[in-house]
Symmetry: C2
Subunit: 311 residues, 2 copies
């Protein structure tokens, strides 16, 4: 059989997404399954099992790409620790290559989402972009010359820890105060609402809430909800203006769960970005919403697999 | 004669530096001359004249690299405007290629200083670095995978306009408030001292002063001078911590006139960088002083000329 497809896997803390991608970036088949917790071998076997269920024979695959939620040693595809999945010190690339008898390429999930958006989504046609993911936390993938920029120890793109408000009293998981993640993530927005409610602020919102509810309350002109969204947009707009002075990306793509709020979030981010950016950068830098949703990861993994075989 | 050298030119607003560079990055000969103001043809002729005075025949040159103080169209080596030198709409690459009958490569001076430091200076051995230049203004060159990262419209590295203190009352040349340049440059430090003196602060410093005098006063424990240096270090440390979350460079190199203050400036910058950076980035990122001084530009221009011929 002719080898013409790539297998793209997006390993999340909750779900595995797996897709067969053709050379043009189109998804031929896709599947989803729950992530087995703390069982490495079982997870590898599940990858093979799911691949077998796509209707495409393994003989038709050229290579495999996989994105994982954490740091990857990009030299050898090993992983020191993957807290969300319960893995420690695994040789993911080597082990998967044995299982699949195919070349395997491993990278971080935010990086692959960025690659995916560049190939088939909001970043189509450009080769320098920053793709920000706002969900429980804040991450990003930095693409330069159409390639993932990893930086030292693959730490590039860790903008969740950009020190945006060092005088803040919100402590980040990393131990520092005022990281971008403490102002902009879903978790942060929920924490800010809770604190305001404790301080006696009136709102449609209650202490038991989700980020989605904050945006729903904002649509009903709830003042607290509008303030919390404005605060998040302010700090994200500022952070993106700062990053843009260094990188001057062609585009900034905003994705992740929180970006489902679409224009309700994007409009104030754009406004603050414009306010804080020096004129030429404000003028030339496009801020857009991600387009691929949950498929970004598997499409990006497909491109990683494709590029790996071409270079 | 065997072609084995590169000509590197660093065009400044005040002086032209010109050097013959060998394939290992060593300077074989160098010369300096005043920059003719507003006379493009005269300047091109001066380049050829100076090259003739190096003792190396043009026949021994493989190619020419030149750095200019402003934006370059890196596609065709043309320049829309070079305020410091009084040029407008010049085809620098094409015109120099005619004059020299050699391939010519043009880039921005801060980018070439960064390349120079990577090849022969403080960035030797690494391929991802940010090289910050602190002088009258603040600029930087961003090197990724051993190449200059230009970004959209060659605007990458414009960290002088990083919005570091948007609530500030100091207005930048660009029209915005609180750009990094309004806190960290020599001009900024002088302005801050002047304002404090107007407000009645006591100091060894007088209103007629240079950045060098601020550092001299600091060595004598002048409180105002120490405060102004601490303020500059604070904002530069914060800005570098922010940029580092996006790029994770191997090294950050600090050069330019103000960096002559050496440890007096570098120590507090390092301290603030450490304070603001998430732990892994604080740990892994080296902040060092530039090593090549005024030679960085011509050595970088030499590498640009060399790389241009090899790719």
């Amino acid at each position: 059989m002719e080898k013409k497809y790539y297998l793209g896997i997006d390993l999340g803390g909750t779900n595995i997404k797996l897709g067969v991608i053709d050379q043009f970036g189109k998804i031929i088949a896709k599947l989803e399954a729950a992530t087995p917790q703390g069982d490495y071998q079982k997870t590898l076997n599940l990858f093979v099992e799911l691949a077998g269920q796509t209707g495409i024979s393994l003989d038709e695959l050229i290579s495999v790409g996989i994105g994982v939620p954490g740091f990857v040693n990009v030299e050898d595809g090993s992983i020191a620790s993957l807290v969300n999945v319960g893995w420690e010190n695994v040789q993911l690339k080597a082990d998967m290559e044995k299982k699949f008898s195919l070349p395997v390429y491993v990278d971080n999930d935010a990086n692959l989402a960025a690659l995916g958006e560049m190939w088939q989504g909001a970043g189509k046609g450009v080769s320098n972009l920053v793709c920000v993911t706002i969900g429980t936390g804040v991450g990003s993938g930095v693409i330069i010359n159409a390639q993932i920029h990893h930086g030292k120890n693959a730490m590039a793109g860790e903008i969740g820890h950009l020190p945006i408000n060092p005088r803040s009293t919100y402590r980040c998981n990393c131990g520092k105060y005022g990281c971008l993640e403490t102002e902009v993530s879903a978790t942060a927005m929920i924490n800010h609402v809770k604190k305001a409610l404790e301080e006696g602020r009136e709102s449609l919102l209650t202490r038991d809430l989700t980020a989605k509810e904050i945006f729903m309350a904002a649509e009903q002109k709830d003042r607290l909800a509008l303030e919390i969204i404005d605060n998040a947009a302010h700090y994200l707009g500022l952070a993106l203006a700062q990053i843009t002075t260094a990188l001057a990306p062609d585009k900034i793509v905003i994705g992740g769960g929180v970006s489902k709020a679409q224009e309700l979030l994007l409009q104030p981010i754009r406004r603050y970005f414009q306010e804080f950016s020096t004129f030429r950068l404000a003028e030339q830098t496009e801020l857009v919403l991600a387009e691929l949703g949950n498929d970004a990861g598997i499409i990006g993994a497909g491109l990683l697999a494709k590029t790996g075989e071409e270079t």
